[in-house]
């Protein structure tokens, strides 16, 4: 592997300074499950690798009245093992449970998944559905960006030089809400999503009407997408086959997938509709507290 220096700062300020001083020649390291391969294959050529795992802010995992705070370096296994997340932020738990296998999940973080900014990243549609905000720190201070605005192209995002992702903040989930993430892959596990869909719904007290919904889509465009129209179509509608089919059609209308060995454009568009329906129904069942195995 190419030669590089390694630092493991213990404060956020020190990490930001290191990244800023090295002006584009430094690269943050979380779980390394993308980064180490990218350096080995020469896709990335950092002179300095800045390990973020010793910074307390990036290891935060807290749920309270203000919602959920998820540090950018928290590995998948801590997330899918968290009772509160499984219950209230199910789509997030669903997505991190299927990122790679056990060995990957023991290292890989949601922050790394988002910052790698792959179009098929599994956790990003869940972040979009659950309305996550990305807290970014850099030489000019802090800013926040909604998850759906973070990625700007394949492996590109809004971070500028010296900036890093600190944490993801999720608003509290109202009563009668539920969420789910699911992807289509030809294997049972260990594969890249052909299509991935995350959805979160809030129902009224009767459980028969949508108050609101949010649908995130992965692997069907150059970046993960927020299906805004499809989501808005559901607000105020009764929970019905018809309303859900209409939302699925609206989601199909915005996808711009590519043709590759994993699936054709036509197939991906079709699967988007199928998955949006299934994921919405699962989110509805969870909001209604219908038990699933």
């Amino acid at each position: 592997m190419r030669d590089f220096e390694y630092e493991a700062p213990v404060t956020l300020d020190a990490a930001v300074s290191l990244l800023a001083e090295h002006d584009g020649r430094a690269r943050p390291l979380a779980g390394g499950t993308d980064l180490i391969d990218h350096v080995r294959t020469g896709r990335l050529k950092p002179d300095l690798v800045v390990d973020l795992k010793k910074i307390p802010e990036l290891n935060v995992l807290e749920m309270g009245a203000g919602g959920l705070r998820l540090g950018a370096a928290v590995p998948c296994w801590r997330i899918y093992g968290h009772e509160g997340i499984i219950r209230d932020y199910s789509a997030l738990a669903d997505s991190v449970r299927i990122i790679g296998g056990m060995q990957i999940q023991n290292r890989a973080s949601v922050g790394g998944n988002l910052c790698n900014s792959g179009p098929a990243a599994d956790s990003t549609p869940a972040l979009i559905a659950l309305e996550a905000n990305c807290v970014i720190a850099g030489p000019n201070g802090r800013r926040e960006v909604p998850a759906e605005a973070f990625c700007t192209g394949p492996n590109m995002n809004v971070l500028s030089r010296g900036e890093l992702l600190v944490e993801l903040r999720f608003p509290p989930r109202p009563p009668k809400s539920g969420s789910h993430y699911r992807r289509f892959i030809p294997r049972n596990e260990m594969d890249i999503a052909v299509v991935g869909v995350g959805a979160a719904v809030v129902l009224d007290e009767s459980g028969e009407r949508f108050v609101s919904a949010r649908i995130g889509l992965g692997a069907v465009a150059a970046t993960p997408l927020f299906a805004r129209d499809a989501s808005d179509l559901l607000a105020g509608q009764p929970v019905s086959e018809e309303a859900i089919r209409r939302a699925a059609a609206a989601a199909r209308a915005i996808v711009r997938p590519i043709d590759d060995k994993r699936g054709t454009i036509e197939f991906r568009i079709h699967v988007t509709g199928v998955l949006v329906e299934r994921v919405l129904w699962m989110a509805v069942d969870r909001a209604r507290n219908v038990p699933h195995s």
Partner: protein
């Protein structure tokens, strides 16, 4: 060239200090510096699991960990699995079930199985297959490996 670092870890229960460059992976250091060649290299990109070791008790691909990252941590490799006398029940079960042919995947499977059984002592067949999905085998067709892990789970329970 980046300066070499001193890394202090516990490997298979023994305190250990080694020198390495930041760009060296844990896999490289285990095999080439520490001569612990039981850990195998298959793909070196996280897909095959041949290089699986336990890092603070959790299964990781050592080809995706920088050796400098394990400073202060505990590492367990295949060399640390067998007791002083005989074999671990998992190793024993792999032999009895003939769960290996060429054997290059075996150390990784045993480490993954060890991590799985520590967390879930009586996994279902589906749970075994899901947990071992990060380990590839080109020879056995997996059924024998799954049976070996089932047998290991049974003997472990019986011996408690």
């Amino acid at each position: 060239m980046a300066r070499k670092r001193i890394v202090t870890t516990t490997i298979n229960g023994r305190k250990n200090e080694f020198l390495c460059e930041p760009r060296q992976t844990l896999l490289e250091v285990l095999r080439d510096v520490l001569d612990l060649t039981g850990t195998k290299e298959g793909c070196s990109n996280g897909n095959c699991g041949a290089c699986t070791v336990l890092l603070d008790g959790r299964a990781v691909d050592s080809c995706l960990v920088l050796a400098v990252e394990v400073d202060g941590a505990e590492v367990e490799t295949i060399e640390g699995v067998a007791p002083v006398e005989g074999l671990d029940p998992i190793q024993h079960a792999f032999l009895e079930q003939a769960a290996l042919q060429c054997g290059i995947c075996t150390p990784g499977f045993i480490m993954s199985a060890k991590a799985l059984l520590a967390e879930n002592p009586q996994p279902s067949e589906a749970e075994i297959r899901f947990s071992l999905a990060g380990n590839l085998c080109r020879c056995t067709g997996y059924d024998k490996i799954v049976r070996a892990v089932q047998q290991a789970a049974e003997t472990r329970v019986a011996h408690r």
